[in-house]
């Protein structure tokens, strides 16, 4: 079983699968940092595979050859300082090889200076509120109606018949491609976490504290995630949808939103 799963895991690494059924690996994502993160993930994984092959290899050889039923006499050695020093030092070296590139990526992750666009994300039980700081837009975003109906116990609706079951919202976040977007995250009640795998962002929203995260999306598209910190009964039902659009389309969207908001204000 293990070996089989391992093999399929290996297979997938070459295939580089995305979010599909039977998906085996982390998505590469659509930002430089998500790709770096993916590479770190694969690097540590391959080190583990290599060490695993050595350790399990030796063990398996031993399991087959050093059996009593083979008539072997047990050896009597019970320590070897040389061996022990070697297998202390080698892992230390490997760990250093891992740690250095990882630390470099971390430093980049924390650098949210000079954004092109700032969005304040406030979490509520159980929806998100987005406020575009300079554009003067703000709105709530929560689970879309079809999922909302299907998710109830004994709803009689087959989840498979609902598009993007549990991962669709009424109002997605829209951001321009190739812009550095800074998120300022906080919460109105309990701790939540804003998580979109393709952007390689998962950041807790903490009541009373503002956290920062940033991304620069390279590809237009719709990217889905959901709340990743237990936040009460509907924790499983607060998805996130980010739409990355061309800068022009983004401008248009901003204007339309503003106009809509103004119309609503006039009508009141």
């Amino acid at each position: 079983m293990i070996r089989k799963s391992f093999l399929s895991l290996l297979a997938c690494c070459f295939a580089g699968t995305a979010n599909a059924d039977w998906a085996l690996n982390m998505p590469r994502g659509i930002t430089d940092l998500s790709v770096e993160t993916y590479n770190i993930h694969m690097m540590v994984f391959w080190w583990c595979v290599a060490i695993g092959i050595v350790v399990f290899g030796v063990m398996i050889v031993s399991l087959f050859r050093h059996r009593k039923s083979q008539g072997v006499k047990p050896a009597t050695f019970s320590h070897s300082t040389t061996a022990e020093v070697i297998w202390t030092i080698i892992p230390v070296v490997i760990l250093m090889l891992i740690a250095i590139p990882v630390a470099e990526t971390m430093i980049k992750l924390e650098d949210s200076r000079d954004p092109d666009l700032s969005i304040v994300v406030t979490a509520y039980q159980w929806k998100w509120h987005y406020k575009y700081q300079d554009e003067g837009i703000d709105f709530y975003s929560s689970l879309a109606r079809p999922s909302l109906e299907a998710r109830r116990k004994e709803s009689g609706i087959d989840p498979n018949a609902v598009d993007n079951y549990l991962r669709e919202v009424d109002r997605p976040v829209v951001v321009p491609r190739d812009a550095k977007v800074r998120l300022l995250l906080t919460s109105n009640d309990v701790v939540h976490s804003w998580y979109v795998p393709e952007l390689a962002i998962k950041k807790d929203t903490i009541p009373g504290i503002v956290n920062e995260a940033w991304f620069k999306a390279k590809e237009v598209g719709t990217y889905r995630g959901q709340c990743a910190e237990l936040c009460g009964k509907d924790h499983g039902y607060m998805p996130i949808v980010v739409e990355v659009v061309e800068p022009d389309a983004f401008r248009a969207w901003v204007d339309a939103r503003k106009e809509g908001a103004a119309r609503v204000a006039r009508n009141q």
Binding site: G52, H66, S78, Y237
Partner: protein, 533 residues
């Protein structure tokens, strides 16, 4: 009562167990208390396991089938608390009670009355915890990590949860003190520290971890209590506190806690592998130093559970490096086990099979731990099923397999009879196959982005969830074989004193079953000397 001064004089007479229920209620005998601990933990495993079955049933296919989200959250919370504090920890304390006095040549645990109390607090604690299932507002549902402010939304169950935790802590601390004092003060004369069996060593270190961190957990939940009922602001930013502060305090306890659950397992495996390899444990002393290093490092890595909370960069870097370092001493352990087997003369009885699976599967869990330690990657893995996969690998085929190995290994010493080896092997193979079927697919789910602690999921996660649920059912059912083996353990053939051909150590010099009282005077140097060879 026996403790009045008048009837103390006949104390030195040999006597067996008291009659009736009093034997158990009032017991000061380490073997009886050990048995109670083990039985208690077995019951708790099944209670916690039943909750896992509820979880897995609900997750078998998308859509809500059986339970409401609140109840689902209660199930995960209670499952974890029961498995950790009611299952794994008492099982190891039970093994310590049974085996440490036998292994070091002591007449009993050092503080026998307190030993009784530390056991009898547990049923109280868990009655209180389980009673919350029937309270208005339901059982605690904020996760076993009890993060505020969410946990403060718990209903009537809230204070019961806090006090149940306090009681578990008190029990563990008393148990740990007993272990330390027994090991330090009660050893047979020839049993120098570095001659001590590995199980005793790892338990000594574990006991230090316990008394260092259980009070911190008690402090943390006390702050929750006062924040809730007495208006303090520990976890309230408006008052100058910080919700994240709870996470720091909790994980200062929580991370050493996971080693509390694995170090005794290392000890068990370090007893069993040499026996069935018919070869001494490789690098006994470095195993001791490795265990001590793991324990030390475990105090300075806690924030690897918090890479997404917005810690300053320097903090993240420090905790990442420290976490990675733990792989080094743990690696020493794994390599030493392999070196112990190397050129041994192995046989594969059930305890050995479980120990071998332990070495394989724990290492896989350790590898995923190392992946989690890489902070940028952890940002992706955190709070997804990848983490669930990681910790079940180290806990189920880790801690639980070690407990089962220990039970098979020492059962003949406890009962005086050999268990049914065929059934034991069947249990092993079923468990090993199903445990992988259950938890391996969770890696993939996590990598694909499925968060943990959700009762329902997006449809692309269906396939692996179904596989995991099938595996879980199989694993649960396999454990019935285990119970059957234990229940019928008194029917097997008579066990010899040594039981296993390659076994060494004091516990194998006493008859099987071990008499009610052993080593009332320290074992003779000659016997001891031989046993320590």
């Amino acid at each position: 009562m026996s403790t009045t001064v008048a009837d103390l004089h006949d104390h030195h007479d040999d006597h067996g167990p008291a009659k009736g229920i009093g034997r158990w209620l009032f017991s000061t005998n380490h073997k009886d208390i050990g048995t109670m601990y083990l039985v208690f933990s077995l019951v708790m495993f099944f209670v916690g396991g039943a909750m896992a079955m509820v979880i897995r049933s609900e997750l078998a296919i998308p859509g809500l089938q059986f339970v409401h989200p609140e109840f689902y959250n209660s199930m995960t919370t209670m499952h974890a608390l029961i498995m950790i504090f009611g299952g794994v920890m008492p099982a190891f304390v039970g093994l310590a009670n049974w085996m440490i006095p036998l292994m070091v040549g002591a007449p009993d645990m050092a503080l026998p009355r307190m030993n009784n109390w530390s056991f009898w607090i547990l049923p109280v604690a868990f009655s209180i915890l389980l009673s919350t299932l029937f309270m208005p507002g339901g059982a605690p549902a904020g996760g076993w990590t009890m993060y505020p402010p969410l946990v403060l939304q718990t209903g009537d169950a809230f204070p019961y949860l806090i006090f149940a935790i306090h009681l578990m802590g008190i029990s563990s601390i008393m148990g740990a003190i007993n272990v330390i004092v027994t090991i330090i003060n009660m050893r047979a004369p020839e049993m120098t520290l570095l001659k001590m069996p590995m199980f005793v060593w790892t338990w000594l270190i574990t006991a230090y971890l316990l008394i260092a961190v259980m009070p911190v957990l008690a402090g943390a939940v006390t702050m929750l209590l006062t924040d809730q009922f007495f208006g303090t602001s520990f976890f309230l930013a408006a008052g100058g506190g910080d919700p994240v502060m709870f996470q720091h305090i909790f994980w200062f306890f929580g991370h050493p806690e996971v080693y509390i659950m694995i170090l005794p397992a290392f000890g068990v495996v370090s007893e069993i592998i040499p026996t069935f390899s018919r070869k001494k444990l490789f690098g006994h002393d470095s195993m001791v130093y490795a265990a001590a290093s793991i324990a030390f490092l475990s105090f300075i890595v806690w924030a690897h559970h918090m890479f997404t909370v917005g810690m300053p960069l320097s903090g993240q870097l420090f905790f990442m490096f420290a976490t990675m370092l733990i792989a080094v001493p743990t690696g020493v352990k794994v390599f030493n086990w392999v070196a112990t087997m190397w050129r041994g003369a192995m046989t594969f009885e059930t305890p050995m099979l479980f120990s071998l699976a332990f070495v394989f599967l724990f290492t896989i869990g350790g590898f995923s731990g190392l992946m989690l330690a890489a902070a940028p990657a952890d940002i992706q893995y955190h709070d997804t099923y990848f983490v669930v996969a990681h910790f079940h690998y180290v806990l189920v085929p880790g801690s639980i397999f070690a407990i089962m190995a220990a039970v098979y290994y020492w059962l003949p010493k406890w009962t005086g009879h050999m268990y049914n080896e065929t059934l034991g092997k069947a249990h092993f193979w079923a468990s090993t196959i199903f445990v992988n079927l259950t938890f391996f697919p969770m890696h993939f789910l996590g990598l694909a982005g499925m968060p943990r602690r959700i009762p329902d999921y997006s449809t692309q996660f269906t396939d692996f969830n179904t596989v995991a649920s099938i595996g879980a059912l199989g694993f649960g059912l396999s454990q019935l074989i285990f119970v059957w083996v234990i229940v019928t353990a008194w029917k097997g053939s008579k066990a010899t004193d040594r039981v296993w051909e390659g076994a060494h150590g004091l516990e194998w010099t006493v008859p099987s079953p071990a008499p009610y009282h052993t080593f009332e005077t320290p074992p003779k140097a000659r016997i001891a000397g031989e046993a320590f060879e």
